[in-house]
Symmetry: C2
Subunit: 474 residues, 2 copies
């Protein structure tokens, strides 16, 4: 039998750990803190990659690949950067049977090595903007790990760009933040809040960090992607210079931005329920699973013929036929529900007699018969409906679980009493931010930008400072 | 001016080093033995990946991702494997600020970690065949490195499969070898010899290694891809067991197979000439470069309008418009010749007056005017012709530079006197194989399989042993 999951409401973390393994997304590896991404989970990641890679290229970025071993001295060149990453570094000390003269760091992120190369590649304003992206693995040694969300090695993309002016760099970092938001909304069907990080939470080496913050089904926040303005911090540290149009040497302004396999965790936790995953059709490895119902051997060829016709008419859809003889239809139904396939189609002798098929929607668990004729249009429409419905549900989760407070005491109380996001007007202030964390374990997720909907809903008298969102987070 | 290359005939190695950098394929990195793959080189790799990934999936394989850190004890489980790879390993000894209890090896290949996972995933004959592929980086510490051909870190794909019987494993490893051959022939336009490796040259841990061997333009061989039968070596070492249809526990038979960014080196060296790269249209990042010829500002809009029309009619082709104002058309011609773009189209006022454009073919350096009307068909046909022509040239290079010998003395003499492949009938014999290498620096590349064309051409009296090919190699 398909393993029953611990209900979310009982123990969300346990539910998460179980579904990741039970749905064949990932497995623990024998190396502490690392994970194996299984084919079903990797297919989800490939679909995420395909969309983002296309968008990066459409916006003028080119992929490249840089060495994963970084000389220790490089990491040390930017003061905040080394301070931020030191505790998480993995170090290669021996190679080829010898001790290395200088230890090599396994990249936790590639600003240093990429900017070293930029210093060789950039000399004129004609070389700018330089717009590079890399798909790769990175290593950040973590003590408390969780599959997809926090592992010592993970897969990601990291964009690195250089621009002639600070304005262009800002425009770039906000443009990439917009692409992350667009991906979350239109493809992952997850409503996110886009905003600026506080000084305390920003990337080590950035002048400004932006992020998208999503709400999971346990009402905690997940930082799902970040985009950084790096100012001239790295271009000065690595002595990147270009001659401007007046032949004057200048340091370029830079950005970096990234999302990772953590997005798989977001999709699991934003849409899943007690029965398992609910995958958005845009990303689902199988958009439709067909389960042939064969009550006896006499019916086999008639059912399989109907299934084949069905497949032919669904040639624009990612279809999987589950024709395993060794397990029952009921087993298959449970398994594909757990694996979150958006649509299940059942085809049996009775359906064939009626000229129809049964369509089960994973999102609202509805079952309906549809005529075989024109089924391709029904499937297309249903996939669209599911995609929309998942986003609406996600938006409603954020709306129903965001509270506004007008005082520090209310902030603490609400963060302790309620789950979800708590908004307030906040004067950037590190000491108070630490205090809130100590008292509630919540953090300042971001200062929302261009998020009229949230701000409009707030009818506040106290609006000193900046509109901010606090929440407990992953 | 575009940098002039050292001619191939003068110094092939120097030519290679220069073209890799001059054509913006790759750059040296500050970490000894590693390289940076620049956007133009990476785009070539992406096109290689796209084709192979599609073929792997069509043949039932699924992608997954395994940790790159492997416990030292894992590598040591298969005796030949550890012996083969020990000199090349890079070791992480410290992570998260502490010394690790067990050092971690950065994967040189993933048989050990993947088979450890297979031992958890495989229990029944119903789990077989298990057909997994991974796209990743690997590390093999090299002393003598060369861009794309031999670097300490490189990108590759590694397939890992498990089967119920030895026959099925053999069929799989030969099927993947066929896909590599098909890729080389149909996509990279490189003629390869498919064959079995000698005992001496096989993969550390395999029972049989197959390879494809290509001939470069300096007439040396390049091993371009390998496929291994692993027998039960790893399934026994990692205790992978399945219950067969009679409920008896068995160790599966396994394969692994891989190609790497070395293929980029193959494409450079198999097709290039003194002017630079010649990229096969199937893989070229830009299949067509359009150079607008604008003699004066009055003509600008007329020329650019014609260029835009041209682009519209070539919407199935990867087109790049080089409209840089700061360099001359002549500079652009040289640059794109060096970068190996298959077709250059020049559009100037005279062409527009004549209702035609000029098409330059990189492969045979021919220039022809064609009417603007119907240019899409001309471009399609020309790209096909170039693809075919490159393959024919590659086939002719192999034919004209393969010699057959009937005695050991002739083998030594021919390998010392001639460049190219030397075939003979050879009794598998390690001592003699070592002697040949000492006396000629050539190695036994493979025992060709299914290569009637080569064998047919040999009219030999002495045919004891197996038909073999020796050559100097990269």
């Amino acid at each position: 039998m398909v393993k029953k999951l611990t209900p979310m409401s009982e123990d969300f973390n346990q539910w998460y750990t179980e579904i990741v393994q039970s749905a064949d997304l990932a497995d623990y590896s024998p190396v502490k803190g690392t994970m194996v991404i299984k084919p079903y989970g990797y297919a989800l990641w490939e679909n995420i990659q395909a969309y983002l890679d296309k968008r990066f290229k459409e916006t003028g970025h080119q992929n490249a690949y840089f060495p994963m071993f970084i000389p220790k001295s490089f990491i040390e060149k930017e003061a905040e950067h080394v301070e931020g990453f030191s505790p998480e570094l993995a170090t290669v000390t021996h190679a080829g049977g010898k001790e290395l003269e200088e230890p090599l760091i396994v990249r936790p992120t590639s600003e240093t090595i990429i900017n070293y190369m930029f210093s060789k590649w950039i000399s004129s304003h004609r070389d700018l903007p330089m717009l590079i992206n890399q798909w790769s693995n990175v290593v950040r040694w973590e003590m408390r790990t969780r599959l997809f969300l926090r592992t010592s090695e993970f897969l990601w993309q990291e964009g690195h760009t250089a621009h002639a002016t600070e304005d262009e760099a800002r425009e770039e970092s906000l443009k990439m933040l917009d692409i992350y938001e667009e991906f979350a909304r239109d493809i992952a069907a997850v409503s996110v809040v886009k905003g600026t990080k506080s000084e305390m939470e920003k990337f080590a080496g950035a002048t400004t960090t932006y992020s998208i913050e999503a709400m999971m089904n346990d009402l905690k926040a997940l930082q799902a992607g970040t985009s950084h303005e790096l100012g001239q911090n790295f271009s000065k540290a690595f002595d990147i210079k270009f001659s401007d149009e007046n032949n004057k040497l200048q340091h370029p302004f830079q950005t970096s931005w990234g999302v990772s396999t953590r997005l798989v965790g977001m999709i699991i936790m934003a849409h899943g329920d007690d029965k398992g995953l609910k995958l958005p059709p845009e990303l689902a490895p199988h958009q439709v699973v067909i389960v042939p119902i064969i009550p006896n051997e006499d019916e086999r060829s008639r059912v399989l013929n109907a299934v084949n016709k069905l497949i032919e008419s669904l040639d624009n859809v990612r279809v999987f036929i589950d024709d395993r003889p060794e397990v029952s239809p009921g087993f298959k139904f449970n398994e594909w529900e757990q694996k979150g396939v958006p649509i299940r189609i059942e085809v049996g002798p009775k359906d064939i007699d009626n000229g129809s098929v049964l369509i089960y929607r994973r999102d609202d668990e509805s079952k309906n018969q549809y005529p075989f004729e024109g089924i391709d249009k029904v499937v297309d429409k249903t996939l669209n409906d599911i995609q929309k419905n998942l986003l609406i549900t996600s938006e409603n989760t954020v709306k129903s679980n965001t509270y506004h407070v007008d005082s520090y005491d209310d902030l603490i109380e609400t963060l302790n009493d309620k789950k979800g996001f708590v908004s307030c007007f906040w004067d950037e202030n590190k000491e108070d931010e630490i205090k809130v964390k100590e008292k509630t374990s919540a953090t300042l997720r971001c200062y929302p930008i261009n998020n009229k909907e949230i701000e409009k809903s707030v009818n506040s008298k106290e609006n000193d400072g900046n509109f901010a969102i606090f929440s407990k987070a992953y």
